[in-house]
């Protein structure tokens, strides 16, 4: 076990009401075990106590330490300093607050908007009255537990929302984390307010652009976009459909057509058919800015397994 220390330069984008935005540099010696939260802790206790950031558990379960590290949305505690040095082949590491949320102080951002989104989906189980009163027992199949637990593991870090282009574009969109949470209860066989949940979630679920940014950044592998896909599959159970849901139906038709025609999902083509030229262009610009356009191309491959595609489409 080698203990070689190496100096890194940490450039932090700071912010305060008095001083506005400015960059500050620190030098820290780290070894291969050093987490970025530890780097921050050392800066604060040994060099510059005025630096503000959030961190609590240092083990990727509390969701406090979301920030941008060399431009990537990440948890600081789940990031080893020398891994970043290796990845970018430079000993300079930049830290910035998460995008989208208002900065409050240095790396601390205002998460009220994020919490509002989470609470909108009624994030709690509404079990049978008998169960609540302790008169009946509820059981859960192990396979249901496994499926739901995947989506329940959201630690409310906000990283996915900070990177989601639709959240920025569309005030009606609940955002990836809220959808993951909403679906977790929508799909829970013990829950009693299915209809109400559906009303909250369906319209919004058609506002996601499937850019997969949330899928990429989530430190707990929650896969919010998967829950959105799964929620969309419930559209047919809703009685009064909104305009967006109608568009959604069109989207499915367009995909089906595309597959029938070519055996491929031509995402871009489907997109145009569904949303029209103008809307697609704005989304493309966002996708570009986020470096996410590559996903549009990745998906344009020959379909090998039609069953899988049907599954994704929610059949």
């Amino acid at each position: 076990m080698s203990e070689k220390e190496q100096e890194i330069v940490v450039k932090i984008k700071r912010f305060s009401q008095d001083k506005g935005n400015y960059w500050q540099e620190y030098k820290v010696n780290v070894d291969r075990f050093t987490q970025m939260t530890e780097v921050l802790r050392r800066i604060k206790t040994e060099q510059d106590p005025s630096l503000s950031y959030r961190a609590s558990c240092h083990m990727a379960v509390c969701g406090s330490c979301g920030m941008k590290i060399n431009g990537e949305p990440r948890l600081a505690c789940k990031t080893l300093a020398l891994d970043i040095v290796k990845k970018y082949n430079s000993n300079v590491i930049t830290l910035e607050p998460m995008d989208y949320f208002q900065p409050i102080k240095d790396l601390v951002v205002d998460l009220d908007d994020f919490y509002d989104r989470m609470f909108k989906v009624k994030p709690r189980l509404y079990p049978d009255k008998e169960v609540l009163e302790g008169k009946a027992e509820q059981r859960l199949k192990p396979e249901d537990q496994r499926e739901l637990w995947k989506f329940e593991q959201c630690i409310w870090c906000g990283l996915c929302v900070s990177g989601c282009p639709s959240v920025r574009n569309d005030p009606e969109f609940l955002g990836p984390a809220a959808h993951a949470k909403g679906y977790r209860f929508l799909a829970d066989p013990r829950d009693t307010i299915y209809e109400e949940r559906l009303k909250i979630l369906i319209d919004s679920s058609w506002r996601c652009t499937y850019c997969y940014q949330c899928f990429n950044v989530c430190p707990r592998d929650v896969e919010p976009v998967t829950t959105i896909k799964k929620t969309r599959a419930h559209t047919r159970f809703l009685k009064d459909r909104s305009a967006v849901a109608e568009i959604g139906e069109k989207h499915i038709e367009a995909i089906e057509e595309s597959i029938k025609d070519s055996g491929m999902i031509k995402e871009a083509e489907v997109y145009l058919k569904t949303y029209g030229v103008i809307a697609s262009l704005t989304d493309l610009i966002y996708a570009f800015q986020n470096g996410k356009l590559k996903y549009a191309f990745v998906k344009e491959m020959k379909v090998k397994n039609m069953d899988q595609i049907r599954k994704i489409m929610g059949d």
Partner: protein, 565 residues
């Protein structure tokens, strides 16, 4: 200063605080929860292994709450209050049922009922779990549940101090971190559920926010701490981040090795080897390191490699992933770097099984902040999550009863509130001098070196005089940041004040107890001494001095016997 009023205030948004707040809110009383972090960021989220529970009809047919109580009493080296342990066992099944009904996704048996696994110190398997993230699952389910109730949440608000009128709690002062504005919260009852204090030690598995604020506030208001000398250390924390590597690893056959590649536990515990009790293994590791057989930085290796890649990834997924993510070590190829670290605080605000403190009327405590005394001198794994919920609920119910006859103080204590804020600022008023980090780092080293795993009179006295010096030094602390929003430097300084007050009490109580019991191990008094020391320490902080008294241990059925496993 802004003023607001509640029937009850709960300080702390972890499992204990939220459960207490739930009980108070459903009874129709006006309650607020104050937490310095958003509730799901509380330390409760880090708990891994599980929550112990005897569930009628869903436990081993031979098991019984009596056995559970016995295991707890013995595990705690007989310093446990046995009425408290009985209550804990009796209510364990019900609390798991409640959490299940509120949506906690417990792992299941094939028939859909809550599953169970075995944990150290249990006669029968009793631990209920959600993968390896039981704390997170419970905390989220509970927070989500109470977020639908009529409770006011003051998240990212820092509680400074309690306000009392003679012997009666009348409120507290807290400050919104974002605006740095203080508010006087008038109230009839305060529940302290502020969690533990791991940051007092240079090495701890605890969250960065565990700075013992509740103990500090209670002490300054004149309430006693019970058994403050009992601090639990866990032998295998990942180097250098101190993330917990569960005992399960050694259970599955992992071996501790020094820098010579020797299996050193053969020397210290020839029979139990690597599976000897937590305190013995911790002491052995420290000895190896002190005698030069550790690795640079001060750790030893936890070797899994002989178990084979497949087995490791299947049975020890968490240890494998933690080592990979947080230390960059592939445990299938090289040993995991580990060292002991502070893990849990058995001591706490002196309360009985109803959560009531008898020094101050209207003061209650629950969770790790409290010492009901279910853990005695040494806590058993998976009993703490259980305690937070069972006693969080009991305490909430007690507060409801208390409120039915309590009336609000008519006296105006605005001056008191002002004084608290002034004191907080005066503490950091200097224009130059040391900043909190300097004092903090010294304090953590001192506690680790002198009042840690091994203790003796000389070492502890050296530690105590250092703590006294640091407390003096901190009076002239200098806050460099003048910012009026989210000034964490200011809050870190206040946390340090709490830590220094607590450190003083721990050091005095530890020097005072001239025996070894559970986690309190003295090289100069290596034996347990029931004749003189089968009693609780009760410690008050009066300015710069610590006053120590005693309380008998409540014994219902189980007479002390030697603690051999």
């Amino acid at each position: 200063m802004d003023k607001t009023s509640y029937d009850a205030i709960v300080v702390g948004g972890g499992l204990a605080g939220l459960m207490a707040a739930h009980e108070i809110a459903v009874s129709g009383y006006k309650v607020a929860v104050i937490s310095k972090v958003f509730p799901t960021r509380s330390h409760s989220s880090s708990a891994e292994g599980g929550i112990a529970a005897y569930i009628q009809g869903n436990s081993d047919p031979n098991d019984d709450p009596q056995y559970m109580t016995y295991d707890t009493v013995k595990g705690g080296d007989y310093l446990v209050d046995q009425d408290a342990a009985e209550l804990l066992s009796m209510k364990s099944g019900e609390i798991v049922r409640i959490m299940e009904s509120w949506g906690t996704l417990f792992n299941r048996q094939p028939d859909g009922r809550v599953a169970v696994r075995y944990f150290g110190g249990q006669t029968y398997p009793r631990t209920r779990f959600v993968g390896d993230k039981t704390g997170m699952a419970l905390l989220h389910a509970l927070f989500q549940r109470v977020s639908g109730l009529n409770i006011d949440f003051y998240n990212e608000w820092f509680a400074l101090d309690l306000i009392r009128n003679d012997k009666k709690i009348v409120g507290l002062v807290a400050m919104e971190m974002k605006s740095m504005e203080p508010t006087f919260f008038k109230t009839k009852a305060v529940v302290m559920a502020t969690g533990g204090m791991g940051m007092l030690y240079a090495h701890s598995t605890n969250a960065y926010i565990n700075t013992g604020d509740g103990y500090g506030m209670a002490l300054r208001a004149g309430a006693a701490l019970k058994d403050p000398e009992f601090v639990q250390f866990h032998p295998t924390a990942l180097y250098p981040s101190d993330i917990l590597i569960s005992e399960a690893a050694r259970g599955e056959g992992a071996i501790l090795k020094n820098n010579k590649g020797e299996r050193f536990m053969t020397k210290y515990a020839p029979k139990k080897l690597d599976l000897a009790p937590r305190d013995i293994v911790s002491r052995s590791i420290i000895t190896e390191v002190k005698e030069g057989r550790g690795f640079p930085g001060g750790y030893v290796g936890l070797d899994l490699t002989h178990l084979g890649e497949e087995y490791i990834k299947e049975r020890l997924a968490l240890a494998y992933e933690a080592a990979l993510n947080f230390a960059g070590v592939d445990a299938t190829k090289e040993p995991i770097p580990v060292r002991p670290a502070q893990h849990y605080y058995m001591g706490g605000i002196d309360v009985d099984i109803t959560g009531t403190n008898y020094d101050l009327i209207g003061l209650f405590a629950a969770g790790e902040a409290a010492c009901v005394s279910v853990h005695g001198a040494n806590r058993l794994g998976s009993n703490s999550l259980l305690e937070t919920l069972v006693f969080g609920r009991e305490t909430g119910k007690t507060v409801v009863k208390f409120l039915s006859s309590a009336n609000e103080s008519s006296e105006s204590l605005d001056k008191e509130a002002e004084k608290i804020v002034d004191e907080a600022y005066s503490f950091t008023k200097s224009e130059s001098g040391v900043h909190f980090g300097v004092v903090l780092n010294k304090l953590r080293e001192t506690m680790w070196e002198n009042i840690g795993i091994f203790r003796d009179e000389n070492g502890m006295k050296t530690g105590l005089s250092e703590i006294i010096k640091l407390r003096e030094m901190a009076k002239n602390m200098y806050v460099t940041d003048k910012s009026k929003t989210y000034n964490t430097e200011f809050f870190n300084a206040l946390e340090l004040r709490n830590m220094l007050d607590l450190a003083l009490v721990i050091a005095n109580a530890a020097i005072n107890r001239t025996e070894s019991r559970g986690a309190h191990y003295r090289t100069d008094y290596p034996e347990r001494d029931d004749k003189n020391w089968l009693k609780h320490t009760i410690a008050y902080l009066r300015g710069n001095t610590v006053e120590i008294g005693y309380k008998p241990v409540k014994i219902t059925k189980w007479q002390p016997e030697a603690r051999v496993y």
